[in-house]
């Protein structure tokens, strides 16, 4: 890449990134305020963290698409720090905590310098899940009361959960507008968040869900101001208060208790959680990157450390990489760090320009966002998923969850690690396997000279204890190559490793490489490994559906019989390298099922489960697709219905190709691709007329394969039939063009 073209792309992409940054800031504002309030810190401190963090990480960071700001994971640690360090005085506690934040920033910077970016890999994944769930429950337990407009309750998470019925009872006992309105606002806000992803109206989706909540909350105050002309019936302590002049009243950290035990342990917990949350988020965002770049985690840690220290100095919370906001960034076309910078600038502008409006936001609305966040963290489906992997994983999850809730985060994660290790020892009936081989090298990697494949062999055992060694080797393989990981000399492979390898498999698939795992077949039969068996073929086994076919499945089966095609109902994670298509660039393919395959293997019709966005901005989608394999090559293109703004609903780098001779077609369809000239030759009178005269389908060509899709949902049998008819006709035209 030469310099001028890099600068040119940067400037060319700037408008897109500014837009993405703007959308992200709409999400970041309510989250920033809410997370700060949940930590009992002044509301503005969350926004300060996002502004400072966004700017610093955008300039110094090592990843392109991440958004930085205050994180969910830290709420619980910060809350306990602020409430305990000040000995009851919240503001004093906040000042002490700011000092802790400055120190944790420095520590995080050192983590980056000493290349501890692999830190998150030392934790068993089920224990991490348990910890996150505990954090989620902690947030949810406190905020559910605030959402109902009651701020007087306090205590440990479990006690708070028990008090929920009491709070609801309070609503009944003191039913008045002052009590019911905040509660109603909270509940309506929660409903907006829950049903946002179900409503796929493009107009509704122009504004992100958290901003809708804020708009509703602000709108309500104006309703009382302008229409009812009555004072807003919400108590003063349920409204946000910002300092008079934000820029002049920055608090300064109080460094007077540096050497005390609680202070030191606070610094460590903050650093640990902030690093883990950031590292996990960075990895997750990398999976969403359409350009498939790999982030430099150590550089990111250094940038986050500096950001955190600066943020603490001016009264802000920790700066971490946050997954939900980052995924919003990706989905709105962010392509480099300038979007993070833009999000910081927009936030700053909001706070300075709309201070009055922000002060109109009622806490229950923000609490609803936090309740939703907490629920997503604690999501019971997570526990169910872990149960399907294995009972022992659920046990690790449970131990970590309960200990974290009762004894704090550090003890909790420690207990999780210990539990995992004990379970591993028990399963292998040998402490020796681990004690003898822990510190020894166990991974061999070489490039086979004849085939050019990378061969990786793992010996002894492979678990969270030494996964970093395997990872170190795997990271050195370019993802466009062919890698083979052989476990035949390895006696034990744990769930953390299997999950990590599955991520590698995805990464390789995205970049056109192959990642194979061999040598695990024997494990199941010889040693009855629970982890190895269940995870050896990712998702294949635990997605097993029953034999009871639904009505739609029976119809599909019948259709297959009529067409003399093959029908497979089962779920499989083998999804034909769908990542090759532009459509899946920012999406994660989970699994496919209900596949119809034509006799000649040319047509594959299947239902697919895939994910867009992440965490609270996550949307799970199931839709039907048709994949057509061509025996010849046609130009690469994307054809879809033009949206009301004249573009495509998804992120694309192509420009719309319009034909002066087919104005109607050009008006109705978006057509784009790498090579506009050859596309123009392909789309002649006959083909454009064909598309005009049929229903709208999204058709994407990658040369020798076509991906055809109707809607963002599963197709009915009728729709399946018309899709097949459509594609048959399309193929006839293409074939005749080919022969002509």
């Amino acid at each position: 890449m030469n310099k001028p073209s890099a600068v040119k792309t940067f400037i060319g992409d700037l408008p897109k990134n500014l837009f993405a940054g703007f959308v992200v800031s709409l999400v970041a504002l309510p989250l920033g305020l809410g997370l700060a309030i949940a930590s009992e810190a002044p509301p503005i401190s969350g926004v300060i963290a996002a502004v400072v963090g966004g700017m610093v990480a955008a300039i110094l960071g090592g990843s392109q698409l991440t958004i930085t700001g205050p994180g969910n994971g830290l709420v619980i640690v910060l809350l306990s720090a602020i409430t305990t360090l000040g000995g009851g005085d919240l503001y004093q506690g906040y000042l002490f905590t700011l000092a802790a934040i400055v120190f944790s920033g420095a520590l995080m910077f050192l983590f980056g310098v000493f290349r501890l970016g692999a830190l998150s890999e030392f934790f068993p994944s089920s224990a991490l899940q348990g910890m996150l769930a505990a954090i989620g429950i902690g947030i949810l337990a406190k905020q559910i009361h605030v959402m109902l407009g009651i701020t007087s309750v306090s205590g440990a998470p479990l006690k708070l959960l028990i008090l929920v019925p009491y709070s609801i009872e309070q609503l009944y006992l003191n039913a008045s507008l002052e009590i019911l309105l905040p509660a109603g606002l909270g509940i309506v806000s929660l409903l907006i968040l829950v049903f946002y992803s179900r409503l796929r109206s493009p107009f509704f989706h122009l504004v992100p869900a958290p901003m809708w909540v804020v708009l509703v909350a602000i709108g309500l105050t104006y309703y009382f101001d302008l229409v009812v002309k009555a004072p807003y019936p919400v108590a003063e302590n349920l409204l946000i208060s910002l300092p008079e002049n934000v820029l002049n009243n920055l608090p300064f950290p109080d460094f007077s208790i540096l050497t005390t035990g609680p202070f030191v342990s606070t610094v460590f917990s903050i650093t640990l959680i902030a690093s883990i949350e950031s590292l996990l988020s960075i990895k997750a965002v990398d999976k969403l990157d359409p350009q498939k770049r790999r982030s430099n985690v150590n550089k990111d840690l250094r940038a986050l450390g500096i950001g955190t220290a600066l943020s603490g100095l001016v009264g802000g919370l920790n700066v971490v990489t946050v997954i939900a906001r980052s995924s919003v960034n990706v989905n709105n076309g962010g392509s480099n760090r300038s979007s993070n910078f833009a999000h910081a600038l927009f936030l700053l502008a909001f706070v300075l320009l709309f201070q009055n409006q922000i002060e109109r936001i009622a806490l229950p609305a923000l609490a609803a966002i936090l309740v939703f966040t907490g629920y997503k963290l604690a999501a019971p489906e997570n526990l169910l998923r872990i149960l399907t992997i294995g009972k022992e994983q659920a046990a690790i999850f449970g131990v970590t969850l309960i200990v974290t809730l009762t004894n704090g985060l550090i003890t909790g994660i420690g207990a999780g690690i210990l539990a995992t290790f004990i379970i591993h020892v028990a399963i292998n009936r040998s402490l020796f396997l681990f004690s003898r081989n822990w510190l020894k090298p166990n991974v061999l990697m070489y490039k086979e000279d004849e085939s050019g494949n990378y061969y990786v062999s793992v010996k002894n055992f492979s678990s969270f204890l030494n996964f970093y060694k395997l990872k170190g080797k795997l990271d050195e393989i370019p993802e466009s190559e062919h890698a083979i990981v052989d476990f035949s000399l390895c006696e034990f492979v744990d769930h953390t490793v299997m999950e990590g390898l599955n991520n590698y498999r995805r990464g390789f698939a995205r970049k056109g490489g192959v990642f194979e795992i061999i040598g695990l077949d024997a494990h199941g039969t010889e040693t009855q490994h629970p982890f190895a068996i269940r995870k050896s073929l990712p998702s294949n086994d635990f997605f097993k559906l029953g034999n009871n076919l639904t009505k739609r499945q029976i119809s599909l089966q019948k259709l297959a019989t009529i067409l003399d095609w093959e029908y497979r109902s089962e779920l499989t994670s083998d999804t034909k390298e769908l990542e090759r298509f532009d459509y899946f660039k920012t999406k994660i393919v989970n699994y496919q099922y209900n596949e119809l395959i034509s006799k000649d293997d040319q047509f594959h019709l299947f239902d697919l489960s895939y994910t867009e966005g992440a965490f609270i901005a996550k949307e799970d989608i199931k839709a039907s697709f048709l994949l057509v394999e061509l025996s010849y090559s046609i130009p690469e293109f994307i054809l879809d219905r033009e949206n009301f703004l004249g573009g495509l609903n998804e992120v694309t780098s192509y420009d719309d190709i319009d034909f002066s001779e087919f104005p109607d077609f050009s008006r109705r369809f978006f057509l784009g691709g790498e090579d506009p000239e050859s596309i123009r030759t392909l789309f002649n009178q006959e083909l454009t007329f064909f598309f005009e005269s049929h229903q709208y389908y999204r058709v994407e060509s990658i040369g020798n394969s076509l991906l055809i899709k109707r809607r963002n949902r599963l197709s009915s049998i009728q729709e399946v039939k018309s899709l097949l008819a459509f594609s048959n006709e399309l193929m006839t035209i293409l074939n005749s063009r080919k022969n002509a």
């Binding site: 090592g62 290349r115 970016g117 770049r293 790999r294 982030s295 430099n296 985690v297 150590n298 550089k299 020796f432 003898r436 020894k440 090298p441 991974v443 061999l444 990697m445 070489y446 490039k447 086979e448 000279d449 061969y455 062999s457 010996k459 990271d475 050195e476 370019p478 052989d486 000399l489």
Partner: protein, 266 residues
């Protein structure tokens, strides 16, 4: 023991049996019976009976009789119970003045070796080791030989963080690999042609911990024999590192191991 006699036969050499421990009539009788059973008869057999600490005695005797090759039975993996036995083999291997062959699974019937893995990392001794290995292969008729160049990861100065550093590291590795291959080819070209006949000699470069990777590799490719340099006693730093290398192999024998001691060094 049978393995030993066969080897002596192959090399046309003298065979010394050394028994450390009390000499009893019964032991002697079984031993002589065993000798009689052997189908191959080496030129000269000498049985020595000595008492004392096993490792020290064996080493002293090796010196005394100017032994060229010492054969030891060894355990594949040391564990707590067998640690004592294993440690003798280990101590001897470390101190022996001659080359040592560790036999993991000696057998009465000869199982012909098929594949031999030879270390070829950059070291003064490597050339002698390769030459010795080829001679050995000639004598034992081993058809396939793989030369393994272990390249320390620290030679690649780029740490892989993101795509750019990955690309850099990959390029640098390719370059190092080419250098290594040309070095090994040079060594091979200096070795007389008749030693290279009827053999398939391949080479493989591995980036990884020295001493460890080759053992793991030998196991992966199911080699029958692994040939290593002995410790180089000339430089203290090297020997310390190399001790560690052999340590990896000795603690977990992948297969039979021949450790070649460079005579010229002494």
């Amino acid at each position: 023991m049978f393995e030993a006699m066969r080897l002596a036969n192959f090399f046309d050499g003298n065979l010394f049996f050394l028994h450390v421990g009390e000499k009893t009539v019964a032991k002697e009788k079984t031993f002589l019976d065993m000798l009689k059973d052997s189908p191959v008869k080496p030129k000269q057999i000498k049985v020595l009976w000595e008492e004392g600490q096993p490792d020290k005695t064996i080493i002293a005797q090796c010196r005394l009789h100017k032994i060229d090759l010492l054969l030891l039975g060894a355990l594949q993996r040391e564990n707590m119970v067998k640690f004592y036995l294993g440690s003798i083999a280990r101590k001897i291997t470390r101190k022996a003045p001659c080359s040592v062959l560790l036999l993991m699974k000696p057998s009465v019937e000869r199982i012909p070796s098929q594949h031999m893995v030879v270390n070829a990392f950059e070291s003064l001794q490597t050339e002698t080791t390769i030459a010795a290995a080829l001679e050995f292969a000639q004598a034992l008729n081993i058809p396939k030989i793989t030369l393994v160049e272990e390249i320390s990861r620290s030679k690649v100065t780029v740490a892989v963080d993101d795509d750019r550093s990955l690309r850099k590291a990959t390029l640098q590795k390719e370059k190092l690999k080419r250098l290594e291959i040309s070095r090994v080819n040079e060594i091979l070209s200096r070795i007389p042609i008749d030693l290279k006949e009827n053999k398939r000699i391949t080479s493989q470069s591995i980036f990884g911990a020295r001493g460890y990777s080759i053992g793991h590799y030998a196991k992966v490719v199911r080699a029958d024999l692994l040939i290593m340099n002995a410790e180089n006693k000339n430089s203290s730093l090297w020997s310390r590192i190399l001790t560690k290398d052999l340590e990896h192999i000795l603690s977990e024998l992948p297969t039979d191991v021949l450790i070649v001691q460079n005579k010229e060094d002494e």
